[in-house]
């Protein structure tokens, strides 16, 4: 596969949905240690709805608008903080891809980069704050490098996933600044950030479909 069209989007996110279903309990477990304990539920609820929303809100020949409209609907399904952040990422990626009829290797980098900046705008965190952003930025960076090396769509997706995992690894040594995790600072050191981990679940889902 060298490019994904609008019609691919529901299948692409079906693959993401399957990954979040697999990780639901693990995400809840991680979150219970350092937060509310509902992250797995929120993520699987939101991403379970997304493939259907993409079908219902498909704009012919426009990947961007389809993502924006579906992300907006997804935000209403999961109004919690992480739900809103993920929906904002989808919408942000859509805005950057507005008018595009497909996503190629360069489009995927645009997707990742706009997703990360939407997360940052919405959550007002920065790199190093031990949040989802630390996975998102690391993923974006590695994907960009892969694109510069001339990698194809699957190669860029693979790099994005690997970059995300490296980002998660780095959060283990970071002090939490945001949310309930900040209250449990001592407990957090040595453990990966659950939001960053959730981002790699998303990336794994994308990679799974793209490399099929």
């Amino acid at each position: 596969m060298d490019r994904m069209k609008v019609e691919d989007l529901p299948m692409l996110f079906e693959s993401v949905k399957v990954e979040f279903e697999k990780e639901k309990d693990e995400l809840c477990r991680m979150d219970a240690e350092l937060g509310d304990g509902d992250l797995g539920l929120t993520m699987s609820k939101g991403f379970s709805a997304l493939p259907g929303l993409l079908k219902e809100n498909m704009v012919a020949g426009d990947v961007g608008q389809t993502l924006v409209k579906s992300g907006m609907k997804m935000a209403a399904v999961v109004p919690s903080t992480m739900g809103t952040l993920m929906s904002s990422g989808i919408m942000g990626a859509g805005m950057a891809l507005k008018g595009k009829d497909s996503i190629d290797s360069e489009g995927l980098v645009t997707f990742l980069s706009a997703f990360a900046s939407a997360l940052q705008r919405r959550g007002k965190a920065k790199a190093g704050d031990r949040t989802i952003l630390d996975a998102a930025f690391a993923s974006e960076e590695k994907a960009k490098a892969a694109l510069d090396e001339g990698k194809d769509l699957a190669g860029v997706a693979k790099a994005a996933y690997e970059g995300g995992l490296e980002g998660v690894e780095k959060t283990k040594d970071m002090k939490p600044v945001f949310g309930k995790a900040a209250v449990f600072e001592e407990k957090a050191i040595g453990k990966p950030d659950q939001g960053a981990y959730a981002y790699t679940v998303l990336l794994r889902g994308l990679l799974g479909y793209i490399s099929k």
Partner: protein, 331 residues
Amino acid sequence: MKKIINRPEDYTDDMLRGIYEANKGKVKYVNDDLRCYCTARKKEGKVAIITGGGTGHLPLFLGYVGENMLDGCGVGSVFQSPSAEEIYNISKEVESGAGILYLYGNYTGDIMNFDMASELCQMEGIETRSIVGADDVNSNKDESKRRGVAGIFFMFKAAGAAASSMKSLDEVLASAERAKRNTRTVGFALTPCVIPEVGHPNFTLKDDEMAMGMGIHGEPGIWNGKLKTADEIASESLDTILSDMPVEKGEEVALLINGLGATSVEELYILAGSVFKILDGKGIKVYRTFVGEYATSMEMAGASISIMKIESKEMKSELDMPVSTPFYTQV
């Protein structure tokens, strides 16, 4: 829980159905969504002002949609933010060529959703500006982190008056900013309220206790203790307000004495009397007084005192601008 309802989960939508029926021709909803509350009397070329927030604070927020005030309101469930999509749909309905001001309370969920709606508007070439009410002095030392409570009424009045005078988006924003800069509020609760879907009170206070500084969603205040007299409460509240925002002898202020839902209007006037005595003693003139329910917390008992310092003639004319909404009339 003793409430006149059908089912707890229908609290917000049943309320909205009643409001629309009672105010036909004045307000309406769009996109088949009761939560997208809009004026039915759109004025062409005027800056549109949209607010939003959780249900449970009437007349805040939707009650201020009407003549010379606001144009739309995103209605969330009890104490919950409206969705970005709802705010966006309201935006598309009420926008009339001069841009939109989003004016709402300083709460994380609301900020995220209004910001998201604003990005969607920008994508379609609709210009927006945002400002949040953050007047509750006791909620945080840092002004930018304060909660928005009853004092947002002064921002609604100022921005509404500027917009109805056909000022530009940036001028309307400047009026809201000026009101914000000069407004401080202190609130206190005597009894809790019950979120219908929760079914029990959101906090407990003994019969002879009050909570100073409590937020309009039952956020903890700065002290819980023995109920004080009206004079004592007024004195402590004004000390807090005036040490945060000094008002010099001879300067003028607007005063808002707001009931939280279950406190009688009689008590509000008793409190107002106490406040007048103190201000008078300090040589601070009250230009205009508002007493009543402006921002409630369902059936919570208690009140809040808001002071807006008046720094210009323009602020007076904004305060004096007549308004008419289904929930609030000022002549």
